[in-house]
Amino acid sequence: MMQENMRVLAHEEIADCIFELKLEGEMVWAITEPGQFVHIRVGGGSQSVAPLLRRPISISSADPSKKTMTLIYRSGGLGTGLLSETGIGEKVDVLGPLGHGFPVEATPLQGKALVIGGGVGIPPLYGLSQELNARGIQVTHVLGFRSAKDVFYQMAFEKAGRTIIMTEDGTDGRRGRVTDVLDSVDFDVAYACGPIPMLKALEHAITEKPLFVSLEQRMGCGIGACMACVTRATDANDAKGYRRVCCDGPVFKAGEVELC
C-alpha cells in the first residue's frame, strides 16, 4: 500500500456518466490481484468545498509494463463529479492498491469461469477476465445494464470470451436480468460484482459451484482501522463475527458474509 500522485494519461466518458480514467505511476507494480481498489482524494473545484474523504474506486485493469492502471467509475456525487473534471497531465492523489481481489487460482487451469457483472460493478471484472484468459481459462461474461446508454466495454469483454449483454429495458442485448441466462452457461467457478440485490439473487442461483462476490460499502480509512465498512459474518460461531469490506474484502466467498 502506498500513496502516490499519479499522472492522468487519458480520461473520457465511455457511457452515460461512466468515465474511464487511465493513471500512470509506480503503484501499478504493487497490484497483486484483479478486484483490488484504490482510494482517491479529489481536489475541490471553484464552486465547492473539497470533499474531505477519499473515494474508493475499483481498479478495472493494469499494465505493469507500461506502469498504467485503468479505473472506470460513475460520476454521480460531489467527489466523482469533481474527479470527472480532472484533465490529462494532471495529478491525482491515490492510496492503494487496497483490499483482497478475486482469486483467479480458484478456477482450475483449462477450466471454465463465469463472470457476472451489474452496472458500475462491472469494471473490476475486466481485469479479472484478462487474468483468467492468461491462465488459459475459458471465460463467459454476463453483464447487466439498465439501458443501452449505460453499456460500456462490450467489445473489450467480447475479445476475452463469450459475452451476454442484458438490459432491463431491452434496448441492448437481451431484455432481463443477469440471473435469467445462468442456466445456459457451463462453468466451474463464478465471480460477480454488482448491486446487492443482484449478488443476493446469484447466491440463491449458484449453490453447487464456488461463487466469489465483490461488495461495495461506504468507507472511511480504506485500510481497516475505522470500522465503517463492516459486514456481519454469516457463521454465528465465527471468531470475529464480522469482516471489513475494505481490507478483508472487498471480494468474499459467497456465504461468508451477510449481503446487506
Partner: protein, 302 residues
C-alpha cells in the same frame, strides 16, 4: 523542542492519533513506525464485546464527516490479550480509551485496563448513553460526569483523562466538575452530534440516524472550548477536533492545549501524524519558538 510531560505521559512529541481513528495500531503500524508518534490512543474498550451499529456507519459532510460506528470492539479482555502485546516491543506511550453503558461497566473496564503495564493512562469516553438513566449521556450532566470520574479514579492505577463531550451548554462547568472529581487531565473535544438526510430515500442517511461530526468543520468549536476551559482548570488538556496540519496543532496550543490528537485526518492521509511531527519544528523555528510548551494558552495568557 517538542517534548511534553503530562500526568503519566512523557511524550517526545505532542502528537497522537485520536481514539477510534486508529483501531489498535496494527493497520497504521504497517505503514510507519508507531514509535514516531508521541503516543497512541487506542480504540474504546467496553466490558463486553460490541458489534456496533448496522451500516451505513459514516457519511461525509462539508469539511467533515459523521460517524456512528457504535463502539465496535472485542471487549476489554480480548483487547488485553490480542491487541496490547503489540505495544510491548514499542516504546510509544499508550492511552487506553474506556467506554460503557453504565457506571459499573466503566469501573470494571478501567480497573482491568489500568493494570496493564503497557497502558500509561486512561481516557474516559463520557459521551455514551447511560442505559440505567434513560439513555442520558454521562457527559452532559456535570454531577454525573463527576461521579463517574471519581469512581474510575478510585480503581485506576494510571492517570485518568476525561474526554469531554461538546454537546453541552456549559463546557467550563463540565471541565471544572471532572477536575474536582479527580481527573488528571482532559481530552477535548469529542464529536458534535449531527445528522444527514438522504434526498432519495427522504430518511436519515446513517442507520443510527444521528452520528458524531468530526473533521475540520468542528475545529473552531474545539478551539473555542479549549480556550474557555483551559483558563478555568489547572489540569492539562489534550486538544482534538479537525486538526489537519502543523499550523492547526499550533493553534490548539495557543488556545490552551498541552498535546493534540489527530482523528479524521488519518482517513484523508494515513501518514498525516508523522508528517505533522516532521513539520512542527520548522513551523516553531519560523515563529522563533524553541519549546512548544511556551505556546500553551498564549492566546489568553497575559
Amino acid at each position: 523542542m517538542l517534548e511534553v510531560h503530562l500526568p503519566g505521559l512523557d511524550l517526545k512529541n505532542p502528537v497522537m492519533p485520536a481514539s477510534g481513528c486508529f483501531a489498535f495500531g496494527a493497520e497504521y503500524g504497517n505503514l510507519y513506525d508507531l514509535n514516531r508518534l508521541g503516543a497512541v490512543t487506542i480504540k474504546a474498550a467496553t466490558l463486553q464485546p460490541r458489534y456496533g451499529n448496522p451500516t451505513p456507519r459514516v457519511a461525509e459532510t462539508p469539511s467533515g464527516m459523521l460517524n456512528a460506528i457504535g463502539l465496535q470492539n472485542p471487549g476489554v479482555d480480548e483487547i488485553i490479550r490480542k491487541e496490547l502485546p503489540r505495544f510491548e516491543e514499542n516504546k510509544v506511550p499508550v492511552i487506553a480509551n474506556i467506554a460503557g453503558s453504565e457506571m459499573e461497566d466503566y469501573v470494571l473496564t478501567a480497573e482491568k485496563m489500568s493494570q496493564q503495564s503497557v497502558v500509561n493512562a486512561l481516557e474516559l469516553n463520557i459521551s455514551c448513553p447511560n442505559v440505567k438513566h434513560g439513555g442520558i449521556m454521562f457527559g452532559t450532566v456535570p454531577e454525573v460526569a463527576a461521579e463517574l470520574t471519581a469512581k474510575v479514579k478510585a480503581v485506576s492505577e494510571k492517570p485518568v483523562y476525561v474526554k469531554l463531550s461538546p454537546n453541552v451548554t456549559d463546557i467550563v462547568a463540565m471541565g471544572k466538575a471532572v477536575e474536582e472529581a479527580g481527573a488528571d487531565g482532559l481530552s477535548m473535544i469529542n464529536t458534535l452530534l449531527g445528522m444527514r438526510i438522504d434526498l432519495r430515500t427522504r430518511k436519515p442517511l446513517l442507520s443510527n440516524l444521528t452520528g458524531g461530526l468530526s473533521g475540520p468543520a468542528i475545529k473552531p468549536v474545539a478551539i473555542r472550548m479549549i480556550y474557555e476551559v483551559s483558563q478555568n482548570v489547572s489540569i492539562p488538556i489534550i486538544g482534538m477536533g479537525g486538526i489537519q496540519n502543523a499550523d492547526d496543532v499550533i493553534e490548539f496550543f495557543l488556545a490552551g492545549a498541552c498535546a493534540v490528537a489527530i482523528g479524521t485526518a488519518n482517513f484523508v492521509d494515513p501518514f498525516v501524524c508523522p508528517k505533522i511531527i516532521k513539520e512542527l519544528p520548522e513551523k516553531l523555528d519560523a515563529m522563533g519558538v524553541s519549546d512548544i510548551n511556551e505556546l500553551v494558552g498564549r492566546s489568553w495568557k497575559k
